[in-house]
């Protein structure tokens, strides 16, 4: 690790004031790891662990607010999350290990960095880590890389499971900065790599995530998260799907679908939702939705298998929630 100054934030204002000259330290499961690899080299850290952002509360509209410092394990196990958004609880529990989930926070999970090998190895080129150095993955080893949302500069996948469920639920990130407070939809929070893969999100340098608001989605009580990976547990997704269905007498009135492990950001599949809406629940419809979700997929040398894998993962998730008529 490069030497750095260490401060403990007495309050939110102190953290925000120092933000432009320091990095926030929450759970540390991404940041400390990347500092050891010299991928992250902050001159100073501001420890935000003492900030009182640890509540999970019910919102007036029936939604739920999760404080930015709520640990992943506490979020996944919270009654409000388990009861109203099973797919969110399942997604979090499908990620990492119990130790990591005890450390990692809701805010930190939103800012998780990619697991692309080229990003994590400073000896190799990576436009995300070192703009202009090139993308090692596009013509390199790209088995774990994205088939959706990539550009000629970057095809790194977004690693989070939690964010996939949040994308499906249209969650909103609440942010405090010097200019006050603002709210950003998860859909607008993460950026596609485009010409600037180093810009991963829309958070400004003086801003602190304080909470995630999950709106009321009554039909999300029927939802699930399916994750496919190289081993049974403690591995990042090769493909995953978060699905919620509003079912009435075998007809799907509304659907929420998001995919993970295959895209450069948590991937909301509106095309799949359109196919599902007003359709008869069943294998034929599910497959059609999966085809629609992956229509724009771009395979590379080693990751073409992900297209069919993602389709089958989505069909599995839809079958689990909607049944096989």
């Amino acid at each position: 690790m490069q030497p750095f100054q260490f401060f403990t934030a007495a309050d939110e204002a102190a953290a925000i004031d120092a933000a432009a000259r320091a990095k926030f330290l929450a759970g540390g499961t991404t940041l400390v790891d990347l500092m050891k690899l010299h991928v992250e080299r902050p001159p100073a850290l501001v420890d935000i662990n003492p900030l009182p952002l640890t509540a999970v509360t019910e919102l007036a509209d029936g939604g739920v607010r999760v404080g930015a410092m709520v640990r992943n394990s506490d979020m996944a196990g919270h009654e409000l999350i388990c009861d109203r958004y099973p797919m969110l609880s399942e997604a979090i529990l499908a990620g990492a290990s119990p130790q990591v989930r005890n450390m990692a926070t809701a805010g930190g999970n939103l800012l998780q960095r990619t697991r692309c090998y080229y990003f994590r190895d400073t000896a190799l080129p990576c436009n995300r880590r070192e703009p202009g150095s090139g993308c090692g993955a596009i013509d390199g080893n790209n088995r774990i890389h994205a088939v959706l949302g990539g550009s000629e500069h970057c095809i790194a996948t977004h690693p989070s499971d939690m964010c996939v469920a949040l994308a499906a639920l249209d969650a909103v990130v609440r942010v405090h900065g010097r200019r006050g407070e603002r709210a950003v939809r998860v859909a607008d929070f993460h950026l596609l790599p485009g010409d600037h893969p180093e810009r991963e999100h829309t958070l400004e340098s003086d801003e602190l995530i304080v909470a995630v608001d999950i709106p009321a989605v009554p039909f999300a009580v029927r939802s699930t998260y399916v994750k496919v990976r190289d081993r049974a547990s403690y591995a990042f997704a090769l493909a995953s799907a978060a699905v919620a269905l509003d079912l009435h007498d075998g007809t799907i009135r509304q659907a929420r679908v998001a995919l993970g492990g295959i895209a450069t950001k948590p991937w909301r599949a509106h095309e799949a939702e359109e196919v599902l809406t007003d359709g008869r629940a069943g294998a034929v419809l599910y497959r059609a939705a999966a085809e629609a979700a992956l229509r724009g997929a771009v395979p590379r040398k080693h990751n073409a298998f992900k297209i069919e894998l993602a389709k089958r993962t989505l069909v599995r998730a839809l079958s689990r929630v909607g049944g096989l008529a």
Binding site: D11, A18, V100
Partner: protein
């Protein structure tokens, strides 16, 4: 260094806080450290407090050999900066036995042949003890899932699962 809004930026500019003072309770005993903020909790335990039971495997949060309890919850000490442990209760493998009497989980690991080389064992045992207080289903597969953050290169997994099940009365 705990700072309010006016002083943090000044302190950064002044080049302060390249060392930190930390006071924690380790295995019931107060411990005071004056360390470089780069020191992880794992290195503080091993190199500063000479508690070498917690092991450094991968040092990147992928193997679980460094697992300890902080305020009763299992965490990875290799990804925890010692500077953040102020005021916390840290429990390591050295803090489990009561005199010569082993913790029931330690005894279960011996009884069920749950290790070969032993390098991962302290992390396995710390994880297994934490598991007892978590929402873990009754089946062997539930234990495997809950123990997936602890890698055993010797492949002692059948014994580890048996030990955990025995210690929580499921066998």
């Amino acid at each position: 260094m705990r700072t309010d809004s006016s002083t943090t930026v000044e302190a950064i500019s002044a080049g302060k806080a390249f060392t930190v003072e930390v006071s924690a309770i380790v295995n019931g005993t107060p411990a005071h450290l004056h360390v470089d903020p780069r020191v992880t909790l794992l290195d503080a335990l091993r190199e500063h407090l000479h508690l070498t039971g917690s092991k450094k495997g991968c040092d990147h949060g992928q193997c679980g050999a460094c697992t300890v309890l902080v305020d009763g919850r299992r965490v990875l000490s290799c990804l925890t900066l010692a500077a953040t442990a102020g005021g916390k209760h840290v429990t390591t493998i050295e803090g489990l036995a009561e005199g010569s009497e082993l913790h029931p989980m330690q005894q279960a690991f011996i009884d069920h042949d749950a290790f070969q080389c032993g390098y991962c064992t302290s992390g396995q045992i710390m994880s297994a003890i934490a598991l007892l207080g978590e929402d873990c289903g009754p089946e062997d597969d539930d234990v495997r899932e809950r123990m997936s953050g602890n890698i055993c290169r010797c492949g002692a997994y059948p014994g580890i699962v048996a030990a955990v099940q025995a210690a929580r009365g499921h066998r």
